[in-house]
Symmetry: C2
Subunit: 296 residues, 2 copies
C-alpha cells in the first residue's frame, strides 16, 4: 500500500462528495453560498470524513453510499466551527489552510451567516437521509451522535471553555476538558458514526469512541507541537499563535519532550485497540501514524 | 373566550417546555449555557411554537406531547437567529425585548457560541424525538421542514439578502424575497410542522404554508409600521432603527396608509383560508388578528 496515494484518492473522493452536496451559488443569497463553498472546498485533510468511512469498513460495513451524507455533514460542521473560531471576536485569524479566512474575504456578517448556514445544512443533508433510508432509526442514532458531539456537551462546550480561559492560567484538568471536547468530540463522533452505520454492537461503538479519544488527544498535542516548531509554509497558518495569544497548551505545561512521548503513547494505544478487532484496516492504522507524526 | 388570558396560558406552558428542554448551566462551559437560557427565557411572544400547536389542533392532532420537542426546537432556532442578528457585525443592537442583548451581557465570543449552541441543540432535541418515536419517518419529515426553512433557502438566505443590501436601495422583488425568507420561512415551517404532525395530506400542508406566508408578511409589515409609530417602551427596542440603518421597508416604499391596508388584506385572506378548513380553531384566528393589529 502506498499510503500517500491512497490518502489522496480518498481526499479527492470526499471533495467530490462535498461538492455534490453543497448548494449551488445562486439567487439573492448567492454570497453566503459562495462563502460556504469557499470555506468547505478550500482544501483540508478531511480527517473526520475519512475516519467515518474507514471505521465503517473496519466494522464490516459494505454499502459505502450510506456513509456519504454523514461524511459531508461532518465536514460541514467542522468547517463552520473553523469559520466562527477565526472571527475577530474569537481567535481573529487572517489565514487558514494557507488562504484568507472566510470573514476576511466575505466580511464578518457573511462569515457568521456562512457558519450558521453550514451547521444548518449539515442537518438538512442528514434529515433527508433519515427520510429516504429503509433504516431511519439507525440513521437517526448516527445523526444524534453527530449532534451531541457537536454541541454544548461536545465541540461548542470545549470551544467555550477555551475562549473564556484565553490568557488565563489553565490546570491539567481544564486543559484535558478543552482538548477532549473541542478537538476530541468530532473525532469520536466520526468513528462512532462509522460503527453505528455498520450495525456494530454497543461494545464496539464504545471501543471506537475510546480509540478516537486517544487519536483526538494525540492530534491536538501534535498541533501544539507544530505551532512551536513548524513554519507557516508547512502548516498553512501563522506559527507561534499560541504564544501570541498567551495560550496554555499541553506543550507549555509539559515541555516538548514529554509532549512527543505522550503523542507516541496515545498513538500506540489507539493502534492496539484497532488491532484487537476481528477485521483489519491497514489504511486506518497508517492514518493514525500519519496524524500523530505529521509535520503539517 | 378571553384571548389575552388564553394567550398567557399558552406562553406560560411554552416557557415551561423551553425550561425543561434547555440544558442546565454547569461545568467548564457554564457561561454558554447561561447565555442560552438568558436569551431563550427572556420573554418573547412565542408565536412560532404557538402556531405549531394551534395548527396541530386545527388539523385534528390530539396527542399534544409530540408537538413539544418541535415547539422547543423552533423557538431555539428563532432565538439563535436573534442573537446573531444583534451582533456588532450585523445589526449591532444593544436591546431586545426590553433587555440587553446576549452579546452585550456575555461578550461577543460567547454570543456567537450561544447562537451556534442553540441551533445545534434544536437538532439534538429533534433527533432524540425521531429515535424515540414510533413514527420516525413522520418526525423526520417535520424536522426536515424545520431545517430547510431555517437554512440557506429559508431564514439564513433572507438574512443574507437583508445584510448585503443594507443601505442600498431595494426594489419590491428583492424586498419580497427578504420578507418571505427572513420572517416568513419560520412561520411557514411552524404551521407546516403542525399539519405534518397531525397526519395532514399534502394539500392541507400546502394550504397551511400559504396561510403562514400571508401571516408572516403581514407580521413583518406591522413590524415596519411599529418601528415608525411605536415607542421604545411599547416594542422593547429602540424605534426608528430602520431610518437609522437606512433600511428600505414596505413602509418606506409604499407609505403608512398602503402598509396598513396591505396588512388588513393579508390578514383577511389568511383568516379566510383557516375558515375553509373542516375544523375550527377560534384562538388561532384571534391570534392572527392580534399579530397583525398589535401595537407592540
Amino acid at each position: 500500500m502506498n499510503f500517500n496515494v491512497e490518502l489522496k484518492t480518498r481526499i479527492a473522493h470526499i471533495d467530490e462528495v462535498l461538492n455534490s452536496f453543497l448548494p449551488p451559488a445562486a439567487g439573492y443569497q448567492q454570497i453566503v453560498q459562495e462563502a460556504m463553498r469557499y470555506s468547505v472546498l478550500g482544501g483540508g485533510k478531511r480527517i473526520r470524513p475519512i475516519l467515518i468511512h474507514e471505521t465503517y469498513l473496519l466494522c464490516g460495513g459494505r454499502d459505502c453510499s450510506i456513509t456519504e451524507p454523514f461524511m459531508a455533514a461532518m465536514e460541514l460542521i467542522h468547517t463552520y466551527s473553523l469559520i466562527h473560531d477565526d472571527l475577530p471576536a474569537m481567535d481573529d485569524d487572517e489565514y487558514r489552510r494557507g488562504r484568507k479566512t472566510t470573514h476576511v474575504v466575505y466580511g464578518e456578517a457573511v462569515g457568521i451567516l456562512a457558519g450558521d448556514a453550514l451547521l444548518n445544512y449539515a442537518f438538512e443533508i442528514i434529515l433527508q437521509q433519515i427520510i429516504e433510508s429503509e433504516d431511519s432509526k439507525k440513521m437517526a442514532r448516527a445523526a444524534a451522535i453527530l449532534a451531541r458531539k457537536s454541541g454544548v456537551f461536545g465541540m461548542i462546550g470545549g470551544q467555550t471553555a477555551d475562549v473564556v480561559n484565553t490568557g488565563l492560567p489553565l490546570d491539567t484538568r481544564k486543559l484535558d476538558f478543552i482538548y477532549s471536547l473541542k478537538t476530541g468530540a468530532l473525532i469520536e463522533a466520526s468513528m462512532m458514526i462509522g460503527a453505528v452505520l455498520a450495525d456494530s454492537d454497543d461494545q464496539t461503538i464504545s471501543l471506537m469512541e475510546e480509540t478516537a479519544s486517544e487519536i483526538g488527544r494525540a492530534f491536538q498535542i501534535r498541533d501544539d507541537i507544530l505551532d512551536l516548531t513548524g513554519t507557516m509554509e508547512e502548516i498553512g497558518k501563522p506559527v507561534l499563535s499560541d504564544e501570541k495569544n498567551k495560550k496554555t497548551t499541553f506543550v507549555t505545561l509539559n515541555g516538548l519532550n514529554e509532549s512527543e512521548s505522550e503523542v507516541r503513547s496515545l498513538s500506540s494505544s489507539a493502534i492496539d485497540k484497532l488491532n484487537s478487532m476481528d477485521r483489519k484496516n491497514d489504511f486506518l492504522i497508517e492514518l493514525i501514524r500519519y496524524l500523530t507524526i505529521r509535520n503539517k
